[in-house]
Symmetry: C2
Subunit: 273 residues, 2 copies
């Protein structure tokens, strides 16, 4: 069965959709995107994702030709046509054709839907290992299509026996390439970076849950040294909600599953959907 | 008249050539390229450009499906079919389709030809203004398709009344987004950065000319402070050979045209072609 997407200003079969070789996205890597999870026919937290998508576009001087309602309707139509039981939607704004190879003249929207594994009902009991790497994403508050370093580091990451990468810069923890990082301090305060990284929608939902349920939390600069005293650590993303982290470089973090704060927050997140 | 390019493993009309929306180049900005000038039917310094292209590909773990000879034949065929009097050739390696959105599995070649203005016979007498900006390109010895910062800074650059941007980092001059930077010191030594930037083919040719004609030169860390004492400054690229720089931020550099070292080197560069 064919999968439909939105590209070149129309709904079409994904195999036929291409980005022109003269596009700024192809020639200069100039684009932004956002990604959201779809449960059946329900796009989750779509307003939060659209907020960030429009913020990214504005900061990158990319005028989105569609309104929020237009995009919601395109998403709805794709969901209807593709009939996937569980999926992800990727919305991209490409820089568009630029005769001089530099000037943004015709930004355009691409929307792609692809099947996605459903997150488990409760937090996974197995944790992942992160390898830390010194790197600062450029224009970090924008979800650009720049994953050059993340893709390039994949073989290095596997050499470390790690499952994901944790970026840090000048001694401060930033984020993973596709997720935010949280740790629980010895004083039972949940902390996460507050700047120079992308603010995830799941991160935002978790902070709201903390506020609502009186879970002590701080958004602030998180020192890389604090990892050595973490009682818990996890990463968060729209795709996976929460993934427990059980090792960062050589440091082991293994909370008791039953008492884990992540377990509690995961269940509250699930209810939010 | 239609312009032909090479994409999707065939020579085809450029309007029909597209990069799949699922390609790593589109979704993750993962690609490399090189660009060379073509005088009539003669691709200039193609071996130097292919050397760098294959170096970029290797460093980025992108296996080029074609051999050097294959690529030369594609370039030759495009030049023959497109019949442009003066042009530029862009060769791109796109990351290719990655079902997991991350793993490089099917890198592929794109070759595009476009008309280009012929450089003037002698060095232009008018110089440009550069605005300095603190920025370090990621994976700087590779010609990646990442020009996110360069494109994003265009409006800022125009606000400064500048024609191009000069990147520097921790007090050291790096490069312009699409060219290398040279300055002539008070002691008549031509200096240019030696690391953390892309080594241009024109830069290489100029250094060879300096060695051959006993023009004193150094490739080393160039301090941003040295700009204040520059007797001459210019930028170099395959497209333009040399462009004189007459202002950097508020500092004016105006050599006597007749005695200018850039004039002499420009003529020697022209002869090399």
């Amino acid at each position: 069965m064919s999968i439909y997407c939105f590209a070149n200003n129309q709904i079409q079969i994904i195999e036929k959709a291409g980005v022109p070789v003269t596009d700024l996205l192809v020639q200069r890597g100039y684009g932004i995107f956002d990604f959201l999870r779809v449960a059946g026919d329900k796009p989750l937290f779509i307003d939060d994702h659209l907020d960030r998508f429009f913020h990214s576009a504005e900061k990158m001087r990319l005028t989105i030709p569609q309104t929020r309602e237009d995009i919601k309707n395109i998403v709805k139509e794709l969901i209807h046509k593709n009939q996937m039981s569980y999926s992800g939607i990727r919305m991209i704004i490409a820089g568009g054709d630029a005769p001089d190879g530099y000037t943004i003249e015709h930004p355009h929207l691409i929307v792609i839907q692809a099947p996605l594994a459903e997150p488990t009902l409760h937090l996974p009991t197995t944790g992942i290992k992160l390898a830390t790497y010194s790197y600062q994403r450029q224009i970090p508050d924008v979800k650009t299509t720049d994953y050059l370093m993340a893709v390039w580091l994949q073989p290095w990451m596997k050499e470390q026996g790690a499952d994901d990468i944790l970026y840090h810069h000048n001694g401060a923890v930033r984020e993973c390439p596709r997720s935010n990082f949280f740790l629980l301090t010895q004083h039972n305060v949940l902390v996460t970076a507050h700047e120079h990284m992308l603010k995830g929608v799941t991160r935002k939902n978790i902070l709201q849950i903390c506020a609502q349920y009186q879970i002590p939390f701080e958004t602030r600069e998180v020192s890389i040294a604090e990892i050595q005293n973490a009682k818990e650590a996890f990463i968060t993303s729209s795709t996976k909600r929460i993934i427990p982290v059980h090792q960062i470089d050589n440091y082991l973090v293994k909370p008791n599953y039953k008492d884990s704060l992540a377990v509690k927050i995961y269940d509250l997140l699930t209810n939010l959907e």
